[in-house]
């Protein structure tokens, strides 16, 4: 199939659909600045976050309600404007750049003031990059750069587990589940969920099998560096990863669904005149 301009708009629609689900989740759980009204932050040894902190923006967010409202409003507005710009084919470069920059800032700050990890925001800092393109050929190359980045996330996570030896530790998954749900298990051991987690904790080899399957799934993303033939299977693997992570670990990776556009459209080829990005 040939890559055409319609695919760029379809990807933009998918992106905004995923973003709205994500935003609703943040809103529902009180994880926006306006609902959180933070009174403190926990810094991390992250150079980018600390470069932003040089401006003391974190104190402004803590002190002034108006700044918090502005941050939430711009966080929501930029992706919406970006998608409109993609459809209208105007200002998409400016808006893509602004969205990447502002979402990076927002994600780093909100994660330092709440319980969410910056990693789960990573799609919103990277996916807008592909809408920087004005031409179909530019879209093609940026789409494939993002696709490689997405593959790298999973492949490197698998490599990390080999490097640290976690994949060779039979107790790993039971230990992770205990650490993740200790308070829940001590408070509500009699619930269906509590019993399920306890069953997995006590059946070390069953939970290790799940961990090993996850590592194999992560490493399988490496095949994508060499061929696009298996991308549809990687989409299925990712959806299973998302589902199991939510059920067993309570971590919400739905934001990463936006990346799937890269795997879906990777089968499309470019032909005809190659224009600048």
């Amino acid at each position: 199939m040939e890559l055409i301009d319609k695919h760029r708009r379809q990807f933009a629609t998918w992106y905004i659909f995923c973003f709205l689900i994500w935003f609703a989740w943040l809103l529902f759980h009180g994880l926006l600045f306006t609902s959180l009204n933070p009174v403190f932050f926990v810094n991390r040894p992250d150079v980018t976050l600390n470069l932003f902190m040089l401006t003391d923006v974190q104190s402004l967010l803590i002190k002034y309600k108006g700044v918090r409202i502005l941050f939430d409003f711009v966080y929501f507005l930029l992706p919406v404007l970006l998608v409109i710009a993609v459809y209208k084919k105007r200002f998409n470069r400016t808006l893509a750049t602004l969205t990447v920059f502002f979402h990076l800032l927002y994600s780093l700050l909100i994660s330092s003031m709440s319980i969410v990890s910056p990693e789960i925001f990573v799609a919103w800092m990277t996916v807008p990059v592909i809408f920087y393109a004005r031409s179909v050929s530019g879209f093609y190359y940026l789409l494939h750069i993002l696709r490689i980045f997405f593959l790298l996330i999973f492949f490197s996570a698998g490599i990390w587990k080999i490097r640290t030896g976690a994949v060779f530790n039979a107790e790993q998954m039971s230990g992770i589940l205990l650490g993740q749900h200790a308070s829940y298990l001590a408070n509500s051991p009699g619930t269906v969920y509590g019993k399920m987690i306890l069953y997995l904790v006590n059946h070390i080899y069953l939970s290790y099998f799940l961990y090993l399957s996850a590592v194999v799934a992560e490493l399988s993303f490496g095949i994508g560096f060499f061929t696009k033939k298996f991308d549809k299977y990687l989409i299925i693997i990712f959806c299973l990863f998302l589902l199991f992570n939510y059920i067993m670990m309570g971590i919400n990776y739905t934001g990463w669904l936006a990346f799937l556009g890269c795997l879906y459209f990777s089968k499309c080829k470019i032909s005809g005149e190659v224009k600048e990005i």
């Binding site: 009174v39 810094n43 992250d46 104190s59 190359y141 750069i145 298990l185 408070n187 904790v201």
Partner: protein
Amino acid sequence: MFIKDLYNYSKPAFYGFFGFLIVFIYLNYKQGIVAAPLFQFGMYSKPVSIKDTQSVYKIYLNGKLDDLSQYSFAERDILLVTPENYHKSFAINESVFQSMHRIFSAAGPNAFIKRSAYVYDENYAEFNDWYKLLLQKIAGYRVNEAVVTRSRYISDNTGLKQISAPENIFPFGTH
């Protein structure tokens, strides 16, 4: 090959992407300080054991043990982790400030680093009020009294066993 096609298509895009890959690989090899959240995805790769001691938090609202199973994962995390995070933030922020001071000094913009932006004084009264409001919002009813305890547990074949007496970690300033 994609990378070769990219080189022929756009030199800036090629060098930008290639540079990113080099930094990604280097930071994953080197570990330690993170450049941005885009570069390391460990995803539970630190080895752990079921024999590890676990911190267990319990929340008592208006004198009654709160049932955590009624909350979503995110709400549970917000309620349980926040007092500990606040308590730890002073030492962590100080330590990160020291590290960043060294890095930025070497890079140049050291003069812009204000200690007051990174490290703040404890304000337990403010935190107590704020966290109580948060509890109230998530629990969905008026909270007159809130206590959070932490104790140590270990796992045996039947479940979790308490090995230390509960210690009150909230409200601050009363223990």
